[in-house]
Symmetry: C2
Subunit: 583 residues, 2 copies
């Protein structure tokens, strides 16, 4: 029988796996042991279909995201296959797929400066940091990144990425990296490359149309005639693998022109064929002119990226695990440690095959789930597809028009810009717009500043509320002041000032209702001593009510002079009115 979880501090809801026998403990670490022994052949069919579908999505996306990360296209595929194997062994959710994502690619582009050596070392360090966070149980750090901050960051990232691809869609040249300069460059009158623009807009229109078709597809039902069901299935399949479809068509088109010597489109160009070498991540780099960049220098150069990338990776993984993790296994292993562990291991192992940092992908996880995957084995199928592409398809990728990849990215990131969140924040909690806007706006400047600003603003708002508790004042002949929340040191000056001004304008007796106070610290105790002394000096009475036992014990231990406490406000009022010479 699982042990009862204590109310505080324990953070392990994997109780169902933590049976006393060591095999149970092993299963908690290797969830594959839970499902592989009872794997059924019917599952295999579904896993195969889902794996291939996700594979057809991830290959074009990976090529496109590598472009976002500022790396040669093959690095996208290098990053796309490790996750499937790792998650199959260590993952707990059937749906989650790990791989290159738009946000990680954008972050990577900020910190690695188009240098694959930096990217691969960053992957390794990112994995080590994430794994350490899992081992040291540092997940609570993520608690301090609030929802408005995450939304502000992803919205800014969506705009930055989308805008960054506009140059490929329009075939513009010499566009700068910095966002604001990019905007300027993009809207500067320039020579558009008409074939690129045409192809790009065509791809975009096709993708949008297919997305729209999929979303307007009603739920399938066995009652429908067979040809309707067939048509529905066809539309569903086409729209699900729309990325692959569009890129394949565009590539065929560009190939046809190229073989006849017409260089109409801007194409991906030379890529290195074959599987990546399996080797330890590089701990230093030798530049072409012979200078050696040491490990320390690379780490210093990566700088804030070593904090932002592991944390953003974890946040994305956790968000996906929360959205998709529960739907199958009945007791949900919500533990963030699974996410941290799988993401960390994927990155560490990825760094041995030249991957750049990866995390859970929302879009592909959704595809996986919708296609009806049954176990994490679907991820292995996806990985095999990616490996096959690397082994055999790289010569074909030479001809992929950049405009088609740009269209894929723009469609992938558009849903990330969630304009409705502004309306929601406005309606539900207006002050939360502040951290949202701080993060959103500053993220265009430097993404780490945006996140830090958002966290600082939201913690500042939190501390403000701690420092300025609401006081409800009621007049029952005697003034009754009710603290609406806890009483901690930053609030104490304010409280005693307010009580003094009440005692001045109100009466000479005050009841302080502390029923919501769950704990006090030494500063509070010391200020209360001061307050009581001054009330006494001036012949006024201060009566506490509703103190919890633990708080009362602390106050008694501190031997506050003239401390008066009664159970309830009613008793206090009675005491005061019953005995006018109470003092």
């Amino acid at each position: 029988e699982p042990k009862a979880v204590t109310a505080r501090g324990r953070r392990c809801p994997l109780t169902e796996n933590l049976a006393c026998c060591s095999y149970g403990a092993l299963k908690a670490w290797l969830p594959i042991l839970s499902w592989l022994p009872r794997y059924r052949l019917t599952w295999l069919k579904m896993d195969l279909i889902a794996g291939v579908t996700v594979g057809l999505t991830v290959v074009p996306q990976a090529l496109a995201y590598a472009e976002v990360a500022g790396l040669p296209v093959q690095y996208g595929l290098y990053s796309a296959f490790v996750g499937g194997f790792v998650y199959c062994v260590f993952g707990t959710s059937k749906d989650v797929t790990l791989g290159p994502t738009a946000i990680m690619s954008l972050l990577c582009s900020y910190y690695v400066d188009r240098d694959p050596v930096f990217a691969v070392l960053l992957t390794f360090l990112c994995g080590v940091i994430q794994t350490s966070m899992a081992i040291l149980r540092l997940g609570f750090l993520l608690d301090f990144i609030s929802y408005p901050v995450i939304k502000g960051f992803t919205s800014a990232a969506a705009i930055t990425i989308g805008f960054g691809q506009l140059k490929n869609l329009l075939g513009l040249q010499n566009i700068s990296q910095q966002f604001f300069l990019q905007v300027y460059d993009t809207f500067r009158p320039a020579v558009l490359r008409v074939p690129d623009v045409t192809l790009g807009l065509l791809c975009l229109a096709t993708l949008v149309a297919l997305t729209f078709m999929k979303s307007s597809l009603g739920p399938g039902s066995d009652d429908l005639p067979v040809h309707v069901r067939g048509a529905r299935g066809l539309v569903w399949s086409f729209s699900t693998v729309r990325n692959a479809l569009v890129v394949i068509c565009a590539t065929c088109l560009s190939y046809s022109f190229e073989v006849y010597g017409h260089h109409l489109f801007t194409i991906t160009g030379q890529t290195s064929a074959g599987l990546p070498p399996f080797q330890a991540p590089p701990f230093s780099e030798t530049t072409p002119n012979g200078t050696v960049i040491s490990f320390n220098e690379i780490v210093l150069d990566l700088g804030g990226g070593l904090v932002v990338i592991p944390i953003m990776g974890l946040l994305e993984s956790i968000a996906i695990a929360k959205a998709f993790g529960e739907s199958t296994t009945s007791p949900p292993p919500r533990s963030w440690t699974v996410s941290a562990r799988t993401a960390g291991l994927t990155n560490i192992m990825g760094s041995f095959v030249s991957a750049y940092p990866v995390t859970g992908s929302f879009g592909r996880t959704a595809v996986n789930s919708q296609t009806g995957v049954c176990t994490p084995a679907g991820g292995v199928v996806t990985s095999v597809i990616v490996l096959l592409s690397l082994a055999f398809l790289m010569p074909v990728f030479y001809y992929i028009p950049k405009a088609s990849l740009a269209a894929v990215i723009i469609c992938a990131v558009t849903p990330m810009f969630d304009y409705r969140v502004i309306a929601k924040l406005w309606r539900v909690k207006k002050p939360d717009l502040l951290p949202f806007l701080a993060t959103f706006l500053l993220s265009f400047w430097q993404v780490q500043y945006g996140i830090v600003a958002g966290v600082v603003v939201s913690l500042g708002m939190l501390l403000y509320d701690v420092a300025r508790p609401q006081l409800k004042v009621r007049d029952h002949g005697v003034l009754v002041v009710e603290l609406d929340s806890g009483l901690r040191f930053p609030a104490m000056q304010y409280l005693s000032q307010m009580l003094f001004s009440k005692a001045l304008t109100g009466g000479q007796r005050l009841v302080l209702d502390c029923c919501h106070v769950s704990g006090v610290d030494y500063t509070v105790v010391d200020e209360l001593r001061d307050l009581l002394r001054q009330f006494q000096q001036r012949g006024e009475v201060l009566i506490f009510t509703g103190l919890s036992n633990s708080v009362l014990e602390v106050l008694l231990e501190a031997e506050l002079p003239g401390l008066k406490h009664v159970e309830s406000v009613e008793a206090a009022l009675q005491a005061v009115s019953g005995t006018p010479s109470y003092n």
Copy 2:
């Protein structure tokens, strides 16, 4: 009639002065207008006695503190007279005296590196910062410095200052500035200067004896015979002006030896005589070798001092105003703005007469209060004494033995090291030892690191409690989980994880008692939506109770699916048990 003060945000308890007429408003700014028109001659006698007594204390202390600050002795006196005039006009408490203090001198020594130009500019900037804080109402920043941090800092400062003076007391030479090296140097076998040691220990013994006598002096009473009263008065007077007494005797001794050509003691040596020039503070410095240090360079050099010194100055001023401010004027003007304003103005004006940063002095304020001062005019008397010393006594100060000044300082700072606070913290609230120790230990390394570490640790502890609220779980057939404090975004992951684990091990129905929740933010709302969705998916029921109206409105506005709320836990239990198919 004074306007009712709103429950939140207003920070002006000077209501009694804020009458509608402009003269009342003027009186709030210039409290001298309140007491000068009704000044009585009987008060003058008391103010004169107190002023002279404090003067006899401040002159030797000022000389000694200048040594602590690493400046020529006259700078101590330059800093000691402005406060009296400023506080007389702008101050609200009869007792408070502003001037050089041990802590400000120590801080000054860290940041100005024995350069009077730096010190005077620091005074000016410190005054400007303090005044700005008063005008911009930034006093809430001080709320985040908790009592253990202040105690840790002052204790460390007492040890540092006391130890720094040991070299003077023992007549040691070539002692380094850094604390740890100082300890090493002091305990290294070295040649003690026997006359210095003898004189120093003698002064120390005298001071300790007189302090002891004063504290063991019973309360005076008119019933005692006249000769007893006379003797008591004599002892009281001697022990109150003990600093002056000891320094005068030591100086006479050293003078007697010096005139006969015996250089027995290490003496203060050359000082510049006369009043300081009245001039604008220097905004750049020209070194002896001709290089000009610009304003920017000086500011960069002062660095953290520009934060630490104004804030520590304010904290000291406020603590003193709180301890002594109330005893006379019946409604206490507790406003910290008075402290910030007077300290800021004193520093700004002080910088025109070459003062280094000053603040309220606990010891001299206590002397002032005990001697029976009636109005802030006593401070003017003190200032006149200091000015007279500067004008006429500087040649005499040449002969003051350094060992006697060291004894004065050691006696002044010993009470600042409050070892009992450790016991109190241990008894009342053990976790608060953490910020205390962090500040205490790191202050020996660098004082700003100590304070920052203490503030970070205490805020971290605060945030931990916000992030991990206590959950009280009771089993009434249905599990009832009571949140003991508010619910803000850092707590949400933890709460939903705990609720899930309860739902696993407990029953399939849960009541969440939110009676202590006073506000929610958007992250909480969003996580609750997620939580409700997952409870619903798994066919479990989550019922909220005790939500306040404002919180309930937010949740309704957010249209949470399946939100169930009842007034009280009892109603919830009834609803659940009454209708088993409640879902």
